[in-house]
């Protein structure tokens, strides 16, 4: 059986998803309006700015940073043959343009892809429209830019 179909591998994915979902609720990053109150820097002078998002992402990065340090001392993760680390290192137009388009969409709604999925738990109005558009956009992106490590690396050569 392929490594990624074995029980410990799938259990790891499940526990990771549970922790991630709990983290999005507890931090309230599941609330798009709260995320928008962080992105609204025009509120800083008046004192109405909500800095919560920074207090979420910094400890998340710190914990992950330790995990990355640990992984550098190992040849492989526990349940697979290799770390799937991105091997594409160029700063190219799709990276910058894609990040800019994502930034526009994120500023329009306050929803990034993680909370978009976890909001299924609370099913607000128009979420279905958002999710269909999200998948359609992602699919369109895959048609424009070759996806996957091999194709990106080939493109860079």
């Amino acid at each position: 059986m392929a490594a990624n179909l074995r029980l410990p591998y799938l259990a790891t994915a499940a526990i990771s998803g549970l922790l991630f979902g709990a983290g999005l609720y507890i931090s309230q990053m599941v609330d798009p309006l709260k995320v928008l109150r962080f992105l609204d820097f025009t509120a800083i002078p008046a004192g109405g700015w909500d800095p919560s998002l920074a207090f979420v992402i910094v400890p998340a990065i710190a914990v992950m940073f330790v995990a990355v340090r640990i992984s550098r001392t190992r040849r492989a993760p526990l349940f697979d043959a290799q770390f799937h680390e991105p091997e594409f290192h160029h700063i190219d137009a799709p990276l910058v343009g894609g990040a800019a388009l994502f930034g526009i969409g994120w500023g329009m709604s306050g929803i990034c892809p993680g909370p978009a999925i976890s909001l299924i738990a609370f099913w607000p109005d128009n979420l279905l429209i958002f999710l269909i558009a999200l998948f359609a956009g992602s699919y369109a992106g895959a048609l424009v830019i070759p996806s996957g490590r091999d194709k990106r690396l080939a493109l860079a050569r």
């Binding site: 549970l18 709990a22 990065i61 993760p77 990040a99 738990a121």
Partner: protein, 152 residues
């Protein structure tokens, strides 16, 4: 300070970090949301663990809202979750506004290879140059978008 809540924010952030750390050290996979769902679409190769992760993500959100009710939106003790309304004066129907936002996010994170989780948490932690650029760009553009549209 509008409803700023440092303790839940820090706690949630640590949980998100632990989730990312577990997926990385256990399975060698980056907990990047746009990547996890984006590669469910054809030509998808590794579908099962992605579906397991996404279903668990929803269940984790739901379970936490029952165990620790009333932190904000969602769950038995919380306010109903709402998506943002289009900015006042723009005269755009809400479903159209939300659809455009979703298309831009789906397309942008696909060609830019990541979002707030993949680039923002995992990429920065890996000290990836591409992720530093992406994070700088999408945070700046999102902040500008909010300032220009006046959506908040």
């Amino acid at each position: 300070m509008d409803a700023f809540s440092p303790i839940p924010a820090l706690t949630g952030g640590v949980l998100i970090g632990l989730a990312s750390a577990l997926l990385w050290l256990g399975n060698g996979r980056i907990a990047g949301m746009s990547g996890i769902f984006g590669q469910l679409l054809p030509p998808a190769r590794t579908v099962v663990w992605r579906l397991v992760f996404l279903v668990a993500l929803v269940l984790g959100t739901l379970a936490a809202s029952w165990l620790i009710p009333g932190l904000g939106v969602g769950g038995p003790g919380g306010a109903p979750a709402q998506l943002a309304a289009p900015p006042p004066g723009w005269n755009v129907p809400a479903p159209l506004w939300i659809a455009i936002s979703g298309l831009l996010i789906g397309f942008g994170t696909k060609i830019g290879n990541g979002c707030t989780s993949g680039h923002g948490v995992c990429g920065i932690a890996r000290l990836s140059r591409r992720s530093f650029v992406a994070v700088g760009v999408f945070f700046s553009v999102a902040i500008l978008t909010v300032a220009i549209t006046g959506i908040v």
